[in-house]
């Protein structure tokens, strides 16, 4: 039910006040990044630009373009591979349960909560050994491995909603493990792949710890480059804002276009679907 009618204006007032808080950083980012050079003083931070100027974007883009490409080369294969593996694992753990499979599932899940600092030193040693240190391929590998728990969880919860009777009748018709997966589960998994795909895309794009420790200079994904941009004293803050917006744009676009699925993934990540 609804809180009483008299309080409704107050209700909207509160919602609008919170909205302003949430939109404030976006406002500053947009306004600053669009200002012409002579208007970029910190005292004028909140003022609207007198004229629109994209020069801070062109400066930021020249600096970040190679890293944006690195992020793209990282995020696409890593998302696809980890989603496929997650689907397969989720299928096994929901429809072909065996003695101890639930315990194994819990053991897999633990991997998604660990602080990655606790595996970082051996991981880097290992990547050096196999020659993948400081490469996008190395980062793809890392994100596939440490993405397994969350993709497995999401697909397992997703497949749990597919009725057992469908699997049983397919078995009676003589379909085996692979045929059921390809002909029954995969066609029903479109939503699952969209949710998991968006989730992995966003997380891998935004990830920083692996990126900053496993890659250097020209191999770095965009978040590391953005951090370097903002840490350097000579880069003006309007360029930093434009850079932040550019780096955020892909995931922001995904959210704007497919927000519903993003929120689904968000809720699925809390272990129980």
């Amino acid at each position: 039910m609804v809180i009483r009618t008299i309080t409704r204006p107050l209700l909207y007032l509160l919602l609008i006040a919170f909205s302003l808080f949430y939109l404030m950083p976006v406002y500053v980012m947009l306004v600053t990044s669009l200002k012409p050079l002579d208007q970029i003083t910190l005292a004028q931070m909140w003022q609207l630009p007198t004229s629109i100027d994209f020069s801070s974007y062109s400066v930021a883009f020249t600096k970040l373009a190679p890293n944006l490409m690195n992020s793209l080369y990282l995020v696409i294969p890593a998302t696809i591979i980890s989603a496929l593996l997650g689907a397969l694992n989720g299928y096994v753990l929901s429809k072909w349960q065996f003695k101890g499979s639930n315990t194994l599932f819990t053991a897999i899940l633990f991997g998604m909560f660990i602080p990655y600092q606790s595996i970082l030193i051996p991981l880097i040693q290992f990547l050096r050994e196999i020659g993948l240190y400081n490469s996008i391929a190395g980062l793809v590998f890392v994100h596939v491995v440490y993405g397994l728990p969350i993709t497995t969880l999401m697909f397992r919860n997703f497949y749990a909603s597919i009725p057992v009777s469908m699997i049983e009748s397919a078995k009676i018709d003589g379909a085996g493990f692979m045929r059921i997966f390809i002909h029954i589960m995969m066609p029903l998994s479109i939503t699952g792949f969209v949710v998991v795909g968006i989730w992995q895309f966003t997380n891998i794009w935004n990830e920083f710890l692996f990126a900053v420790t496993i890659t250097t200079s020209d191999q770095q994904p965009v978040m590391v480059a953005l951090q370097n941009l903002s840490g350097s004293q000579i880069v003006q803050w309007n360029v930093q804002m434009a850079g932040a917006l550019l780096a955020a744009l892909p995931t922001l676009l995904v959210y704007i276009l497919l927000g519903k699925f993003f929120v689904k993934g968000l809720l699925a990540g809390s272990v129980k679907g």
């Binding site: 409704r8 404030m24 899940l109 602080p115 710890l209 995931t251």
Partner: protein, 325 residues
């Protein structure tokens, strides 16, 4: 199977044969299922559990330079850390950051979810405004809030007009600042700036969780409470909130593990800060290991971080597994 025969009632012995056959087929498929799961299991076993073990081993070694040295050091690295000014500050900062962060995320999450649940106009617009920061990187959040909470600019341009300007993340005050070990114990004021940025980014999660929870409570429950004479406030306080407890537990666990391992937001926004007022174990681990080459010290910090997270996560995972079977 012959369709005519299958419509005939099976004799018990025939049934037995049939079950036996499907059982055999099942076993083969089951082996295949296990076969497909095995590569992932091996990866997790090696890269999660094996590597944690290896990090634990490094944390007990003397490897505190560029050259690996695996000679046994006992608990020396841990003892060093607990006597270290910076690590003591980290523990204090993480403690208060976690408490303030979780409390704020829960309170704002419940408030916004209840507001959104009042059949308001433009609900999806408001929802999107509250959720979109979740799609951003902590690095982006850090870069932007670093400017917004910069003491000489940002929100202080307004706040100074009413005399409320704060030093934000540059403030070195600790409240109340009782001396404890090598550090002053209490809430580091600078950490509040980071809490604000983290809350801005993460409340979307708790709003989404609570909103889903509220929508799952049947209308009859509230009706019944109203018939019993409960006021609207009482309905929420005494009936709805207790029903949302499982959600609160999930939110606390998820937020706790995020805040205990936080690194990128602080690294991008403030770094360690003067007197390490905004330092956390994640930042210390990164700097001491990859900048200072103190690998054994870094590994010890990582293991302490892991244990602090495991305290929350392991019981959570075990109980949610029990709830399923």
């Amino acid at each position: 199977m012959d369709p005519v025969r299958s419509s005939v009632k099976h004799t018990p012995s025939e049934l037995k044969v049939a079950t036996k056959r499907t059982k055999k087929a099942l076993t083969k498929d089951h082996l295949m299922a296990i076969g497909f799961l095995t590569p992932s299991l091996i990866l997790i076993a090696v890269f999660v559990y094996g590597f944690i073990g290896w990090t634990g081993y490094v944390s007990l070694s003397n490897w505190n330079s560029l050259v690996p040295d695996f000679s046994f050091a006992g608990l020396q690295n841990y003892i060093y850390l607990f006597k270290d000014f910076r690590f003591q500050a980290d523990l204090r900062n993480t403690l208060f950051f976690t408490i303030l962060f979780i409390l704020t995320v829960i309170v704002i999450g419940i408030v916004l979810a209840i507001l959104l649940d009042q059949k308001i106009r433009q609900e999806s617009l408001f929802r999107n405004i509250f959720f979109f920061p979740m799609a951003l990187s902590f690095v982006v959040t850090g870069v932007v809030w670093q400017w917004l909470l910069n003491p000489s600019t940002g929100v202080n341009l307004f706040l100074s007009k009413i005399g409320l300007d704060s030093k934000w993340y540059t403030d070195t005050t600790i409240i109340p600042g009782v001396s404890w070990g090598k550090i002053e114990f209490g809430i580091p004021v600078a950490i509040i700036a980071i809490v604000i940025a983290a809350v801005w980014q993460m409340t979307g999660f708790s709003v989404a969780m609570y909103l889903a929870g509220l929508r799952g409570i049947p209308e009859e429950v509230r009706e019944a409470a109203r018939i019993d004479g409960a006021s609207e406030f009482q309905v929420y306080w005494k009936v709805i909130l207790p029903l949302l407890r499982p959600i609160t537990i999930s939110v606390v666990i998820i937020m706790a593990h995020i805040s205990l391992k936080i690194f990128d937001l602080i690294y991008a926004m403030t770094g360690s800060g003067a007197n390490y007022v905004t330092d956390v174990p994640g930042v210390y681990m990164y700097e001491t290991t990859f900048r200072g080459n103190y690998y054994a010290n870094g590994a010890a910090i990582a293991i302490i971080m892991l244990l602090s997270v495991a305290i929350f996560i392991v019981p959570y995972l075990i109980s949610s597994r029990k709830g399923e079977s």
